[in-house]
């Protein structure tokens, strides 16, 4: 139920993001989803890719600081209120969202929400109990 996400430290310097995406392209690694969190001084690039281990290795070889964390992917129908329903549930359960981002999958029918919670195990159990669809890692990597 958990999806592996790689996080890359972004120094506040122009061209960093371009460099990273180029390295991944050169190694035939496909980005499924991404988000950038930034401050005035640095940023963190979070990526979900089809080949996690490889991406981690090639980026590290090129001198980037890379970390790996697990996130969960919740699938909701792509319509008004889809995200609100999940967040409402999250709040009722009393979970804390560390961060989240979202994308719409290819068919355009569903949206995928990527979450990092403070308590991942409880998050998975509770969301499933509430009837939400949590995608398996392989489903995300091969979207």
């Amino acid at each position: 139920m958990r999806v592996e996400q790689i996080a890359v430290f972004l120094e506040n310097k122009s061209g960093r993001l371009a460099e990273i995406t180029m390295i991944l392209a050169d190694n035939d690694i496909n980005i499924r989803a991404l988000s950038v969190a930034d401050t005035a001084d640095f940023g963190i690039l979070r990526l979900i890719v089809d080949k996690v281990e490889e991406a981690e290795q090639v980026l590290r070889d090129k001198g980037f600081t890379v970390g790996k964390t697990t996130v969960i992917a919740v699938e909701v129908p792509d319509r008004t209120g889809g995200l609100a329903a999940v967040l409402d549930c999250v709040q009722k359960i009393g979970l804390n969202v560390e961060y989240m981002y979202a994308f719409v999958n290819k068919t355009g029918e569903n949206a995928v929400l990527i979450f990092r919670f403070d308590d991942m195990t409880r998050a998975i159990d509770s969301l499933q109990q509430e009837g939400f669809t949590i995608l398996r890692a392989s489903q995300i990597y091969n979207l």
Partner: protein, 436 residues
């Protein structure tokens, strides 16, 4: 305007007379220190020198040097000549690895110091009747209290305003009619900026002269201060290990450089690499022996400051040797906003944080009138977290630890691994972009 002397006889004494006073004082100092300070005695014994071997001034060269490391090893009071009971004041300067350099004064030392500060003030044209605005920091730092006692001894009116709160300083200057400003040169520029913001014309104030020191500054900066504050800017030199401010002062009629108060502080210039004495007029590291201090004398103390001595008699009539503005350091010490900072201190802080790699670089810049320090730290895998908060906690922890140990606020910039250039041999830790 006629030259103001505080102690005319000694300030204009022909060199022969001065040297005879110096020798007498040196001999008595060495005998006293040999008797009372174990680390000095041990060093002299190791070098096979006895106090009786000091027959002429040049014999000083037989004695071993004293360094900041010696003071640190004997922290806090190991280099004092007497018990604390007879010491009336302690000051301290920032030192490496969190241990400050501690200095002590007897009642006589405080009087000597005040007298020499009064001499420095006179040298800059101040006298009874002046209103002295003392914006040097009061506290463990010698600047504030050192200047304060001197101004009182001079008979002037002292405003012990200390540093900070520039707008209030200017209001005080205006309302109290300050005539003499004592501060770091960068703070003087800061005050000038504040004046501009408050729309106050410096010409409307009574300020006439400034006595600026405690950090390196250039001739360009002098011109800027003089223009912006509409005053004459003079240079003062001192360091706490020797006494504090009042070791040397530039006169108004200057032929260039600051007069060293040689009847109390015997200067030498050495080659910092070989330790050999250099002839007058050559640039090298300044070394001081304090001739009259009771509680905490130093023998051949290496200041690490690079300068040149000039023995020609000055336009002002003073025979006291003149030292040039300090042009650099023979070690890697930086002075940031008046605080001594060694890269090793920063390294020490960084190494105390788990996961921090020993690769860092310090960038010093001058933004407007203030020095800023940026510490670049490489983010290793073990430091990295995918949450902004985690990295922000790291940078604020480094900032806080550096502030705790050094007393200077810095900016921490996280950089990629290997972003900091690796060098063969000695790493270049400091990039000083200040145009001083």
């Amino acid at each position: 305007m006629s030259t103001l002397y505080w102690e005319e006889e000694i300030e204009t004494l022909p060199r022969v007379g001065l040297e005879s006073i110096q020798l007498k004082r040196l001999q008595s100092l060495i005998a006293r220190v040999y008797e009372t300070v174990e680390p000095y005695r041990r060093k002299m014994d190791d070098a096979g020198i006895l106090p009786e071997d000091i027959q002429e001034l040049a014999d000083l060269r037989k004695l071993p040097f004293t360094s900041k490391e010696d003071l640190r090893e004997n922290y806090p009071f190991g280099m004092f000549t007497m018990d604390l009971e007879d010491i009336v004041r302690i000051h301290a300067s920032s030192g490496t690895t969190g241990k400050p350099t501690v200095v002590g004064y007897t009642e006589n030392d405080i009087n000597t110091w005040a007298n020499l500060m009064a001499r420095a003030l006179s040298c800059a044209g101040a006298s009874k009747g002046d209103i002295i605005h003392n914006a040097y920091g009061y506290g463990l730092f010698t600047g504030g209290l050192g200047a304060h006692y001197g101004a009182e001894m001079l008979g002037a009116t002292v405003i012990p305003v200390s540093g900070g709160n520039s707008k209030r300083q200017i209001t005080i200057m205006k309302d109290f009619g300050s005539t003499v400003l004592m501060s770091t040169p960068s703070y003087a520029l800061n005050l000038a900026d504040a004046m501009e913001q408050m729309d106050i014309d410096p010409a409307s104030l009574s300020l006439r002269v400034g006595i600026f020191g405690a950090e390196p500054w250039s001739e360009n900066m002098r011109e800027e201060v003089e223009k912006k504050l509409n005053i004459k800017a003079t240079d003062i030199y001192g360091l706490s290990e020797v006494i504090g401010p009042g070791v040397a002062q530039e006169c108004l009629e200057s032929s260039g450089g600051m007069h060293i108060f040689e009847d109390h502080f015997l200067p030498e210039i050495i080659d910092p690499d070989t330790g050999e004495n250099l002839p007058p007029g050559e640039q090298g590291e300044l070394v001081f022996t304090t001739l009259t201090k009771e509680a905490f004398p130093v023998i051949r103390y290496r200041t690490k400051d690079i300068t040149t001595l000039h023995y020609e008699i000055c336009n002002c009539g003073r025979t006291l040797v003149r030292m040039d503005k300090v042009t650099g350091r023979s070690d890697d010490m930086m002075i940031i906003r008046g605080v001594n900072v060694f890269p090793s201190q920063i390294e020490h802080v960084l190494m105390g944080i788990e996961g921090v790699e020993p690769h860092y670089q310090i960038i010093v810049e001058r933004e407007g009138t203030l020095d800023t320090m940026t510490v670049e730290v490489e983010v290793s895998d073990s430091l990295f977290t995918d949450e902004i908060r985690g990295l922000e906690q790291l940078t604020s922890r480094i900032t806080r630890d550096i502030k705790d140990i050094l007393g200077v606020t810095c900016r921490v910039k996280l950089v990629n691994p290997r972003a900091i250039q690796r060098s063969e041999g000695k790493a270049q830790r400091v990039i000083d972009k200040r145009k001083i």
